[in-house]
Amino acid sequence: MHLTEEQLIAYRDGETRNRETFAAHLKDCPECRSELARIEAVFAALDAMPVPDPGGDFGQRVWRQIAPRLPKRRARSWNSFFEPHRLLAFGGVAALVLLAFFIGRYTRTSTTPPSIASTGKTNERVLVVAVGQHLGRSEMVLMELANAEPEKGQKLVNISAEQKRAEDLLGENRLYRQTALRDGDKVMASTLDELERVLLDIANSPDEVTPAQFEAIQKRIAAKGILLKVRVVDQQLQQRRQNVEETPQVHATPAAGNKI
């Protein structure tokens, strides 16, 4: 009993079902091996089909052709800001701000007389913790992608879980970046800006990518050195958090600032 043409084509195409059985049969059957070689020859002939070179400036030529035909585009509508994933991300950040507010209230009622410095310090502590957690979660996503290795022969790598997490992290990342910019914290703003680009890249990738596409994502993460930058900023935040906690309340001054 020989393998059918369909089975041989499927085997050649990497079909995993019954693969071991087919491989064992091919090992022992010269006729099926020769049939597979004939199928392989079709693909070899396909590979040898030339594609004429359209020229190095082909992309520019295409642009010159289509540019006058592109309709004018208005900026994206506000509706896109109300997409569920964005609402979820902003909701999370809003909850943190509310938490900071209530902690502030609680601190004010439990200390007499009320102190602006202590409220500011509590707010800073909450924000430092929140940004630290955000960086930690982002680092986890990047680490998982950077360290993953597709199995040999694997045709597609599913990154839908990391993609979803990156999408969720994007909203809060934007808010923290804007806060850092507003407070003049350039190092933090720049790191969050770079992180945002990488997260955007991951979030916009397909659910399943080929090993080559996956490698390209890993290279982009490595090229930007984003993991190291995130870790450095995270350590600085931990230091800042310790400083906030160690500073005696009576000596706290407004000059401590509210940077994240």
Binding site: I9, R38, I39, A45, M49, V51, A67, L70, A75, K155
Partner: protein, 215 residues
């Protein structure tokens, strides 16, 4: 000078940023995407349509359609994969259109009376051609081109995307608006037909490697 600096900067931006900027009204950002993916689309389009003129048209139309539908794309997948799909779909339309035009011009018809496509493998098979002749690479390339032209648009799309582009079955199924099993069968039919067309020329196996490729 400033323009060239801005251009160099914009060329280094990621696809996602270029899409965001295009949506915000920055046409230059779209130029980056067009220049980045034109060649990639051209290879697909050429293999699907089999000629440079149609291939260029497919590339241009794909980018125009992508621009018009860009707001539907944002955030759903990789731009390259998305525009590739648009190009594949348009190439299918283009092949169908061309087949109809050819049929109208009283050439050997590929459409049956009811409008369905018929197998034209018989047109390609040329048992009288000697192996010596076909051993010449140009002739083999022409035979292969004929064999590809004889596939239905769906079969051609399936074999081009699967074999040359290494696309997943699910990805091809999305372009063909079909399911995975049906798409696997389409790939199988395409390979079987190509094999049937080329099999009489036993030497193609030995000469395939001699054709050389420019891509």
């Amino acid at each position: 000078m400033r323009v060239s600096v801005e251009r160099a900067e914009s060329e280094g931006i990621s696809d996602a940023i270029a899409v965001e900027r295009t949506l915000a009204g920055d046409r230059e950002a779209y130029r980056v995407l067009v220049e980045r993916y034109s060649l990639y689309l051209y290879r697909l389009a050429y293999r699907m349509t089999g000629n440079a003129h149609d291939a260029e048209e497919v590339v241009q139309e794909a980018f125009l359609r992508a621009y018009q539908k860009l707001s539907q794309f944002a955030g759903n997948s990789n731009f390259g994969t998305w525009v590739y799909r648009i190009a594949a779909n348009y190439a299918i339309d283009r092949i169908r259109q061309r087949n109809v035009e050819e049929a109208r011009q009283a050439r050997p018809s590929r459409l049956a009376e009811d409008g369905t496509e018929v197998d034209t493998m018989a047109m390609i098979k040329d048992p009288s051609a000697s192996p010596e002749h076909l051993a010449r690479s140009a002739e083999l390339a022409a035979k292969m081109q004929q064999a590809l032209d004889s596939l239905t648009p769906a079969e051609r799309t399936a074999i081009v995307m699967r074999h040359w582009e290494g696309c997943a079955i699910e990805e091809i199924a999305a372009v063909l608006k079909s399911n995975s099993n049906a798409t696997k069968n389409t790939v199988f039919r395409a390979v079987a037909k190509l094999r049937k067309a080329l099999e009489p020329f036993a030497e193609f196996r030995n000469t395939a490697g001699a054709l050389g490729t420019e891509s």
